[in-house]
């Protein structure tokens, strides 16, 4: 906590953070509260008009550092040491009043989920100009004019009138751009972008990314760009700072970080995590046959699945890819019986499954298991890992006592966690461990097919990679088939034997992996493939120039 008493010197830098230390108090279940250090001795410097990318896995402290540039600690987080100097003054010494003058005027913020960050009760325009009016940097008419120009610059549709809309009337990708306009409207010196494209579809992300990059270049604003995706940050940053567990790992210019990283950890992040997965030949009778399935929500008003037919062979993986709203998860709901299809049939293991979940036998249920995206809400927080994994053993096989415990132990070994976790609660596990427990719970039922719904989307890349490897290993051992729903094409390449590409409820491309991923492509598959960011400076411009069709979010 030794604060240097020297007068802040800035050397022409806009933002300078020195020896930043951030702490928080945690309340672990059943233990006394204790203080933990979230950010430890981090220093950085950013010049006017430059973009610094902050990158790291969850828990690296990147958002916390970003928010410290506004003197803000989220959820009881405290800045306990160091200096944050903006425009030549230490903002941590100006008190709350000083911070309020800084926020929304010199430094603005773009959040990860614009959908949640806009107030549903007010029109977009009122929210976009609010900060400029509050700080008196523009009259209402000026601010609105500025906002409309920004809407146009960010290529939003109907820039003159979009401000009259309410947040729920605008799509997620558009909202993210409106939020960028909101941050730019008071003409700040610095913008903190906190994972602004992470929640978007890959095809929408590229548009928003290009819009943000143009806006930064045109306005000359400096930016801290926070993300866990190195390929994304490489497109917009001048420099990149790699963080891990609240400590600095490496800091250099973008080209150096992605082409010649000096630290082992950076190298791990940079290297492409492709799992070499040999496609299996489609032999034998299909385990699951989905034939001409059409399904609709709310009494058949709009079909969200249109005439979908796919097959899965025993012990193989079918990947279903598409943007949000393409019907991937609806297909899973139709197969599991949660949404009885309007037309078509689902054949599983040579018998036709009843459409409705309630009419299925216990064996139908057992042989078809599911794993979800949000592992932490898919488990009862008041049950231990042992109880969670033991439950399907009791329910389907009537196992009790020592027999059950032995099997739970075996399953824990299979997911590479070990019996030490038997008495732990979900809250005590990391994101990857939680997902592993969910996998063990699905395996406990000895299923023939597991539906994996975006199981790695919420995880950090390295952790996700571990989960994919585990799933492939388990497939070898247990000979289980997967229906793998994802929007991430890198994941698809690593795990699939066959691929179905979905677009607006229809399967637009379907076949073995090698065939689906080989040219010639249809327009939509081409868009999907070309939208996946690559770890290469200048990729964004090339990709935008080479596109054949507009993304659906536009």
């Amino acid at each position: 906590m030794a604060r240097t008493q020297a007068k802040p010197t800035t050397d022409g830098a806009l933002l300078q953070i020195r020896n930043l230390r951030i702490e928080a108090t945690v309340y672990p279940p059943g233990e006394a509260p204790r203080d933990i250090t979230i950010v430890d001795d981090v220093s950085l410097k950013l010049e006017k008009g430059k973009v610094l990318g902050l990158i790291g896995e969850s828990g690296a402290g990147k958002s916390t550092i970003g928010l410290s540039a506004m003197g803000y600690g989220r959820g009881g987080v405290r800045i306990t040491g160091g200096e944050v100097i903006i425009n030549g003054r230490d903002i941590l010494k100006g008190g709350l009043r000083g911070l309020r003058r800084l926020r929304g005027r010199e430094v603005c913020y773009v959040a990860q989920s614009a959908a949640a960050a806009f107030n549903p009760a007010h029109k977009l325009m009122d929210q976009v100009v609010e900060a400029a009016l509050l700080h008196g940097t523009a009259s209402r008419a000026e601010a609105e004019k500025r906002a409309v120009n920004l809407f146009r610059k960010l290529s939003l549709p109907n820039p003159e009138t979009i401000g009259e809309r309410y947040p729920h009337q605008v799509s997620g990708g558009q909202l993210q751009r409106v939020m960028t306009a909101m941050a730019l409207c008071p003409e700040p010196d610095l913008i903190v972008f906190d994972e602004p494209t992470t929640a978007l579809d890959v095809t929408t992300q590229i548009d928003v990314l290009a819009a943000i990059k143009d806006a930064i270049q045109d306005t000359g604003v400096a930016a801290l760009y926070i993300t866990h995706d190195l390929a994304v940050v490489a497109q917009v940053s001048d420099e990149i700072m790699v963080l891990r567990n609240g400590k600095l790992v490496e800091w250099g210019d973008t080209q150096q970080i992605i082409t010649e990283p000096r630290r082992e950890y950076t190298n791990q992040l940079v290297s492409v995590h492709q799992i070499a997965h040999q496609e299996k030949e489609a032999v034998g009778e299909p385990l699951l046959k989905v034939e001409n399935v059409t399904a609709a929500y709310g009494g058949g008003m709009v079909d969200v699945l249109k005439n979908v037919s796919v097959e899965i062979r025993p012990g193989q993986t079918l990947a279903v890819v598409g943007e949000s709203g393409s019907g991937k998860s609806t297909l899973a709901r139709a197969i599991t019986g949660l949404l009885p299809p309007r037309q078509g049939s689902i054949t599983f293991d040579d018998r036709e499954l009843p459409a409705r979940l309630a009419s299925r036998t216990r064996d139908d249920l057992r042989e078809l298991q599911m794993i979800y995206q949000m592992a932490d809400v898919a488990m009862n927080p008041r049950q231990t890992v042992g109880t969670i994994i033991g439950r399907p053993l009791e329910f389907y096989f009537g196992m009790r006592g020592a027999e059950r415990d032995k099997r739970v132990g075996e399953l824990l070994e299979e997911i590479e966690m070990g019996t030490g976790f038997l008495d732990r609660y979900p809250a005590e596990l990391s994101g990857g461990q939680k997902q592993r427990v969910c996998i063990a719970r699905a395996l406990a039922a000895k299923p023939k097919l597991i539906i994996c719904d975006e199981v790695t989307s919420a995880l950090d890349p390295l952790v996700a990679n571990g989960i994919l490897k585990l799933l492939l290993n388990l497939q070898e051992i247990e000979h289980v088939a997967y229906l793998f729903i994802t929007h991430d094409l890198a994941t698809v390449k690593s795990i699939a034997d066959s691929i179905a590409v979905m677009y607006r409820g229809e399967v637009v491309r379907y076949g073995p992996k090698s065939q689906v991923l080989a040219p010639p492509f249809d327009d939509y598959t081409d868009l999907l493939l070309s939208s996946v960011p690559e770890m290469e400076v200048g990729w964004l411009e090339k990709a935008i120039a080479g596109r054949k069709m507009q993304s659906a979010g536009n």
Partner: protein, 319 residues
């Protein structure tokens, strides 16, 4: 602004009418089940059988219940609430001025309590968990925990008798100047305000605190807004629906639940009228007052529903 919102509101109102009809059946059936014979209670124990039979015929008591119900309902719909058995007076003409008196009292209690509750709620959120919050909550809880008759007599003793600031008996009559009327109802209004304040204040506080967890509150904070502006401009508009619900429930209580207060302060309102006639088993009066209370309750709740619909931007501005 679509027709969908008009449909939703029309549905609520239609539902309210149906509910009111159902309540009218309940009130009618309920008063029929009550033991005792109306003719007997009018004429007393000494009445001759012939006189009783004549009166029953005159009152239509020999008709089947269904016929009597519809006759009553038809009367109510045309503004005829029947005749009081005990006083032989037309119920509608005696009841109207009293209804106005009750509404007058309720109106002023609402004018004071609703803004006060909301402002106190906002203050409690602004200074949450601090001494101001605790003081507001403590005062509000204490005032609700004390029964209204206790608070009423306490006020009469100190304010009316000892200090002699306001009259202890709240007499109002037609043609009384407004200021005098207001002076007369200061004490009962104070009691009513104290009774309903806490509930509304606590709900305002809870509803706004719930909204304060949202990401858009953080957005507002990072724009540099002051704490009170954040609560007023960003939290409150999203907490309106639950707050209005509780406010309406309490307004209904101000009309329907004032019986005790009216009796304490001898205020010529509906509550006192009801109490008098329940004691005398005057069934038509009890029916009429019951129906009015039900109508007040149901309409205030419909207003709460409609406000909640109108406060939701997703319904006001469909895609």
């Amino acid at each position: 602004m679509g027709s969908s919102i008009a449909t939703l509101i029309a549905q609520r109102i239609a539902l309210g009418v149906v509910l009111l009809l159902a309540v009218s059946v309940l009130i009618f059936v309920g008063t029929q089940i009550l033991p005792g014979d109306v003719a007997q209670s009018i004429l007393g124990n000494q009445a001759t059988p012939e006189a009783l039979a004549n009166l029953r015929k005159e009152l239509g008591l020999n008709d089947p219940a269904v016929v009597r119900y519809f006759a009553w309902l038809g009367g109510v719909l045309t503004g005829d609430l029947g005749t009081a058995l005990t006083t032989r007076q037309d119920i509608a003409t005696t009841l109207m001025p009293r209804l106005w008196n009750t509404l007058f009292l309720a109106f002023w209690a609402a004018v004071v309590s609703v803004p006060l509750a909301i402002i106190l709620g906002l203050l409690a959120v602004r200074y949450r968990n601090g001494p101001i919050d605790k003081a507001i909550s403590g005062f509000a809880l204490a005032s609700t925990s004390l029964p209204e008759f206790f608070v009423g007599y306490l006020l009469i003793f100190f304010v009316a008798v000892k200090l002699q600031w306001f009259p202890s008996i709240s007499t109002v009559y037609d043609g009384m100047p407004l200021l005098d009327k207001l002076r007369a109802i200061v004490l009962p209004t104070t009691v009513l305000v104290l009774v309903v304040l806490a509930h509304m204040m606590r709900m305002t506080r809870a509803a706004i605190l719930n909204v304060m967890q949202s990401a858009y509150i953080e957005t507002a904070e990072l724009k540099g807004l002051s704490a009170f502006d954040i609560i007023r401009k960003h939290a409150f508009p999203n907490a309106i629906a639950p707050i209005v619900n509780v406010v309406m429930l309490n307004l209904a209580f101000l009309v329907v639940g004032v019986v005790v207060v009216e009796v304490i302060f001898v205020y010529p309102g509906l509550g006192q009228y009801l109490v008098d006639h329940v004691a005398k088993r005057d069934v038509p009066v009890v029916q009429a007052v019951g129906l009015i209370f039900a109508a007040v309750y149901i309409s205030l709740n419909i207003i709460a529903d409609i406000t909640a619909i109108l406060a939701n931007p997703r319904l006001r501005h469909p895609k």
